[in-house]
Amino acid sequence: MLEKALEGSNKYWAWIFFLLGVIGIGALFYVRQYHYGLGITGMSRDVSWGVYIGQFTFMVGVAAGGVMLALPLYIHNYKVFGKIAVLGEFMAIAAVGMCLMFITVDLGQPMRIMNVLIHSTPHSMLFWDMIVLNGYLFLNVVCGWAILHSVYKDVPPPKWARPLVILSVPWAFSIHTVTAFLYCGLPGRHFWLSAIIAPRFLASAFAAGPALLLLIALFMKRMKLMDPGKEAVQKLTTIIIYAAIANLFFIGLEFFTAFYSNVPEHMATLDYLFWGVNGFHNLVIPMRVSLLFSIVGVILLLFKKIRFHEGWLSLCLALIFLSLYIDKGVGFVLGGFVPNPFDRITEYHPSVTEIGITIGVWAAGALILTVLYKVALKVEFKKDD
């Protein structure tokens, strides 16, 4: 089936080679980082996680978001998602792949990564995160492939696939919950020390993942590669709206708890993120833009006319996706480190190398996604291109 990825138009190949080029540049930057050490990034003693871990956290959400197609289809037998569910599974594969790459480039001693298994430490949440992420990758590879293969051969899906697809639903919740546990179980980082982190992660994931998927689907429709179907688009939009509203609600709860209680540690990071403290305000504009994008995107989507207009719909989806990306991929992780344990502020500026590597990983994710979608399109929609 994979050979389907090897036949395509010039445009397809141009895109593939473009991605390979970007990956190559990213790899060169990584070689640089490998030789010098992580000091080549903008991270420091105070802000010891940066862009990489931010992207990792966000991509776990994108991976988990695919379940918003699997759940209605496999649990509620909602057939409208029948054809596009595999797109969700394949997006999850690409996203988890990116997560693992981001974790690896963030390690100071990447050659020792197997120590996590050799010296497995069940009281560390990172150990569990590794287990659930790899498990999720495995489930999606197996399920996605098995189901697509059955379509390809025109036979019903194999019996053994059913329990696995059902299992993949709670598993999707687990990956983002455990990722939230990385943060919300640490004493002394008050911005993270909140029981609502896991639900908030899930809400933002269930908006961001489907939003990205729908954007890609609408783009492919425009390119006349496939048609997800009107009903599927509308259903998915509804899911995104609810999830985005839930996420906004949760953010509001954080604000209330912090500012009504007036506890300094709880307010400190929010102050820094949204207003700036003592002249440090790197993240103020992005965070405000993020909030604005979410609110505007959701409000616009409440209008039926906009929901049914593909151009406007895409714009709103892009706004929501960007908003969630800034909120989780940038603000959330960096915010945990500011102010530092000494009530001082150190800001973080990603370096060129760091951004180069990050773009490289994104390109690698895009490549995995392109190849998988290519196969899916050929098989599901019998399209050549």
Partner: protein
């Protein structure tokens, strides 16, 4: 919260996660959970934060009492302590905050105890030099977070580092509420054109390993000196000033236990539940 209940909660919480994984992993999980929970919690004699019925302390837990008045009275003593540690442990001097590595250093009162905010503060407090280092917490979140046991608590209550196992994920740095951990952002062993180490202006102590790039490090309470029956370097650097008193805080006959009984001491961020073993007399 008593130990039993804490242990139960820990196991219950982790079991929820474990429900998703293989049964064999579940077994080792229970063991792991127990290993953490069975570390002996302690609360120092007169330190703040007592009052919820501390469990009886067992086993050795080394700790320190740092007398800030003595440090203030002996100008330059705090710097001498840091210097002794730097030389003894080959702490590279990069001269910039971004790469900085430190095991013991001085800060002012306000930033050492940010949770003790006061509207109007006694002026003498502002000038106190506070020596900061790893607290060798009885309940260390860094150890809980580490995915490889590269950081662990030894039988003397010292939180140690295994530089050869650390993968450099820096989870422990996020977990430590005291900023006690440093990461090797670059190669400390870099040499200049003449073949001299660039970042060890005071020479290299061949008895202690230089670290490699990409691993985390922190104060180890001079574990090696302890095993030789010597006091930690920073304590030795204080001479007879008693600026730092070191010992087993769980041994009621030790000097440190007696000081903790007799004097009013504070710990950094007691609310974090880490149970620091470093106490301050202010």
């Amino acid at each position: 919260m008593d130990v039993k209940r804490r242990k139960f909660l820990k196991i219950a919480g982790l079991s929820a996660v474990a429900g998703l994984a293989a049964p064999s992993a579940f077994n080792s999980l229970l063991k792991g959970g127990e290993a953490v929970a069975s570390e002996e919690p302690h609360r120092g004699g007169s330190a703040e934060g007592e009052g919820e019925g501390s469990p009886k302390a067992k086993g050795i837990q080394y700790g320190m009492v740092i007398d800030l008045q003595v440090l203030a009275a002996n100008k330059g003593l705090a710097a001498k302590c840091s210097h002794a540690c730097n030389v003894d442990h080959n702490i590279p001097q990069y001269g910039n905050p971004k790469d900085e590595i430190k095991w013991i250093w001085t800060d002012d009162y306000e930033h050492s105890f940010p949770e003790h905010s006061q509207y109007k503060r006694n002026e003498s407090l502002e000038k106190l030099p506070v020596l900061l280092l790893c607290n060798h917490c009885a309940n260390p979140p860094c150890v809980r977070a580490c995915p490889t046991k590269a950081t662990f608590k030894n039988d003397k209550g010292v939180v140690m580092m295994d530089y050869h196992r650390c993968i450099g994920c820096r989870f422990c740095m996020a977990a430590c509420p005291y900023g006690a951990r440093s990461f090797n952002w670059r190669r400390p062993r870099e040499k200049d054109a003449n073949g001299n180490y660039k970042f060890f202006p005071d020479g290299v102590n061949m008895k202690f390993p230089m670290r490699m790039r990409g691993v985390v490090e922190k104060c180890n309470f001079c574990a090696k000196r302890l095993s030789e029956g010597k006091l930690p370097s920073c304590v030795a650097a204080c001479g007879d000033t008693k600026a730092i008193v070191f010992g087993d805080i769980n041994d009621p006959n030790s000097e440190i236990a007696r000081i903790l009984e007799a004097r009013y001491t504070i710990q950094r961020k007691p609310a974090a539940g880490t149970e620091p073993s470093v106490f301050y007399i202010i």
